[in-house]
């Protein structure tokens, strides 16, 4: 049976050059990057190259990149590390109600510790109003954390405007952006966006799982979450996952090369699918028209997400119901958008990637139609 993978926002397959680089690191370039001898230096040099590659994709200085075990760790480091470093400067954190669970949970923890957390709500289409974020920022606001692209519906947040607004309101407030879903799909420039911190992850850009990074603008103090040696300027000590980091670097370089073409192709696939779905009265499209084409969130009211998902899976199609990390639990994002419970219960997320084709769109639509016809529903 043909594999039709339409869950690229959950994770992506590793691009062959990245996989090869990882393998080579594992079997030949296996030195500890902190070792003083040549074997260690070789591994360190490969990490330096990966850092440079990622910095190029993010348009920042390599010294501003700290490698972590993934996006979740980077988000935790950003929120908890900045809050701890700036505890004396204020007491408020501003974020949105549609962040990834790692940002949400870190913000909840800060709230428990006594911080005031403001969660700006999206409108029914999933948009966040930059003015509302700005309004929530006051003299005691230490950090604003907003994602760039929402992982469930694909909405693109107005990060440039948000940063400008925050700077006017309070020049001391730091801005963090979870760019995990945006990397490789939108051109991102840390410099142009004037961001202080940003999170990225390898496994969303055809790199290996287990590697992510936190961009920290030069001069900003973040306290580490784990303690130990001197690696990553002590911000993230521990022997580096050199193989995975190198894979990340290769994936980053490829992402830069393919960005425009991937975006074009994926936009076409999204359009094609929307067209077909529009002619199916039982299907509701949740993602707004201006969302990132890579993500298409739909609902088929009356058909439970998980049931439809398994039906599709039997036909070789992988999509998401809710967000992957919550293992199928109800989407807090769709609820925050104020969507009707029937839509939330039947939501499916289709997410396109570099290796999807028109045939994938065809097969998905056909299978969905079949599911609608054959499955028991309310």
């Amino acid at each position: 049976m043909r594999e039709i993978y339409l869950d690229n926002s959950a994770t992506t397959q590793v691009a062959e050059p990245a996989a090869k680089a990882v393998y080579e690191m594992l079997v030949s370039c296996y030195g500890n990057p902190s070792s003083l001898h040549r074997k260690g230096l070789e591994a360190e040099n490969r990490i330096t190259a990966a850092r440079k590659s990622l910095a190029k994709l993010l348009d920042c200085d390599p010294a501003e990149i700290t490698f972590t075990s993934g996006g979740t760790e980077a988000n935790n480091l950003a929120l908890l590390g900045v809050a701890e470093a700036r505890a004396r400067k204020g007491k408020r954190i501003v974020t949105t109600a549609m962040e990834h669970s790692s940002v949400e949970a870190a913000a909840d923890r800060l709230e428990q510790l006594g911080w005031e957390v403001i969660r700006v709500k999206p409108d029914v289409m999933g948009h966040i109003d930059a003015n509302e974020v700005m309004a929530a920022v006051d003299r005691s606001t230490v950090l604003v954390s907003c994602m760039c692209v929402n992982n469930e519906v694909g909405t693109i947040l107005p990060i440039g405007q948000i940063v400008k607004g925050v700077r006017r309101k309070n020049p001391e407030t730091l801005v963090h952006c979870d760019c995990v879903q945006a990397l490789g799909k939108l051109p991102l420039s840390m410099r142009r966006l004037d961001l202080d911190l940003a999170t990225v992850s390898a496994h969303k850009i055809y790199g290996p799982k287990g590697s992510g990074a936190l961009y920290v603008r030069r001069g900003i103090r973040v306290l580490p979450r784990q303690l130990g040696g001197e690696q990553e300027k002590k911000l993230r000590p521990g022997t580096e996952a050199a193989a995975l980091i190198v894979g990340f670097g290769v994936a980053a370089a490829l992402a830069g090369e393919h960005l425009a073409e991937d975006a074009r192709r994926i936009a076409d696939l999204n359009q094609e699918m929307r067209c077909r779905l529009l002619s199916m009265p039982q299907v509701v499209i949740n993602s707004p028209a201006d969302a990132l084409p890579a993500v298409l969130n739909i609902s088929v009211p009356g058909y439970r997400s998980e049931t439809m998902m398994h039906f599709l899976e039997e036909r070789g199609i992988s999509v998401s119901s809710g967000s992957a990390c919550s293992k199928g639990a109800k989407s807090h994002v769709l609820s925050a958008m104020g969507l009707d419970p029937t839509l939330v219960d039947s939501a499916l997320r289709v997410s396109f990637g570099r290796y999807n084709t028109k045939a994938d769109v065809e097969d998905f639509v056909l299978a969905l139609q079949q599911g609608i016809c054959t499955l028991a529903h309310r």
């Binding site: 003083l36 230096l41 040099n45 010294a63 410099r191 142009r192």
Partner: protein
């Protein structure tokens, strides 16, 4: 939206008959620096150089950042290009400077009319444009003394230019206008700063580094390369000559009195650097020596090392405190790399009690035990050349 970069030359404007050739070097250097961003056209007019991007989607932010590191530029600014038509000028002014004006309290309009065929005279332009600005931003007030925003409009032959905020340039004079010099670079904090300071006065640099494996590591060499790559941001491309120094250091240790180790080592370094410099057509040597910082850098000690070369030795940080040197190192982003802890050869065979006021005759006598010419020739024969780019 067409934007250009306006470059104001500083000292060059004072160079009289040489002005044109200095400017040519500046244009050449700037062209080279911006080369990877795309094509730029350069035009000279009085003390301003107009730098025009030839394609629409040029990364002008990055271009400005690079321009701010080119020596020979006193100040620069971005300018929006408008048609020589009042409405177009107004529209572009409001668009280009809109954000600044929105958040400012006061402004002033200045106009220069180089093209006398333009129908409005300068005071009229100021008045009318000022009026339009006040219409759009009624919260603003005019302040002719210290305005928050200075709206400068220049009407020239080709177009009208609306100037943005003027930003400071790197100062100095263009690299290459003062000739070449060889810098002894150790990987410490001082030598990159010394290099930067001399490059600022127009010197093209090449580096000389002494490596003593296995006493010093490959990482130490990489650190020096990384430092020079940081310096290249200001100094342009450079050649780095890595000199194998192990045998010389071991010979000194075996045959010379301990308290003279460092001073004799530094004399060998200067002799080798002198030869490399001459071969590369350099007119001077540069070191990061500062008086009193370490035992080998006392006045008498420096006199002992100075004497082995006929070339002038520039020591730009000789009168500076460590604190001041570190401030510059941070500015040029070499400090963090300099403090990486890889052993460099100067510290390898440190005497327990170095002679701080060496007598030249005794030093020369101690050196007799060594076959200096052979050692130096061998070291020079084993030099590794590394090309440094940004």
């Amino acid at each position: 939206m067409k934007e250009i970069i306006l470059i104001k030359t500083g000292e060059i404007a004072l160079k009289g008959l040489n002005k044109s050739s200095f400017e040519d070097v500046l244009v050449k250097n700037t062209k080279w620096r911006l080369h990877s961003l795309g094509q730029f056209k350069f035009r000279k007019a009085q003390s301003t150089i107009y730098c025009e991007p030839q394609s629409d989607d040029m990364d002008l932010d990055e271009a400005c950042r690079r321009v701010s590191h080119v020596f020979g530029i006193a100040a620069f600014s971005r300018a929006r290009v408008a048609a020589k038509d009042f409405e177009d000028i107004c529209e572009n002014t409001l668009d280009f400077l809109g954000e600044e004006l929105e958040y400012a309290a006061t402004f002033k309009v200045e106009a220069k009319r180089a093209d006398k065929s333009f129908p409005m005279k300068s005071p009229e332009i100021c008045r009318e444009l000022g009026g339009r600005i006040l219409e759009r931003y009624p919260h603003l007030k005019v302040d002719v003394e210290h305005p928050d925003v200075l709206v400068m409009v220049e009407i020239r032959e080709a177009a009208a230019y609306i100037h943005g905020k003027q930003l400071p340039g790197a100062g100095g004079i263009p690299i290459g206008t003062s000739g070449k010099a060889a810098i002894l670079i150790s990987g410490g904090i001082d030598s990159p700063v010394a290099g930067y300071m001399m490059a600022k006065r127009g010197l093209e640099l090449c580096g000389v580094h002494f490596a003593s494996p296995p006493y010093t590591s490959e990482r130490a060499k990489q650190k020096v390369i990384a430092l020079m790559e940081k310096m290249a941001e200001y100094c342009g491309r450079m050649k780095l000559f890595v000199v194998p120094f192990t045998e010389i250091q071991e010979q000194i240790r075996d045959k010379c009195p301990e308290e003279l180790f460092t001073i004799i080592m530094r004399r060998f370094m200067m002799r080798i650097a002198d030869q490399v410099a001459r071969k590369q057509d350099c007119g001077a040597l540069i070191t990061g020596e500062s008086v009193g910082q370490v035992a080998s850098q006392t006045v008498k000690a420096i006199a002992c090392t100075d004497i082995v070369t006929d070339l002038p030795v520039f020591r730009p940080v000789i009168g500076m405190d460590k604190r001041e040197i570190i401030a510059i190192a941070n500015e040029i982003d070499t400090f963090e790399t300099s403090i990486l802890p890889y052993e460099d050869c100067c510290t390898v065979f440190t005497p327990k009690h170095p002679r701080t006021r060496p007598r030249l005759d005794l030093v020369e006598a101690a050196e007799q035990a060594l076959d200096a010419d052979r050692l130096i020739a061998q070291a020079i024969a084993g030099i590794e050349l590394v090309e440094i780019k940004r």
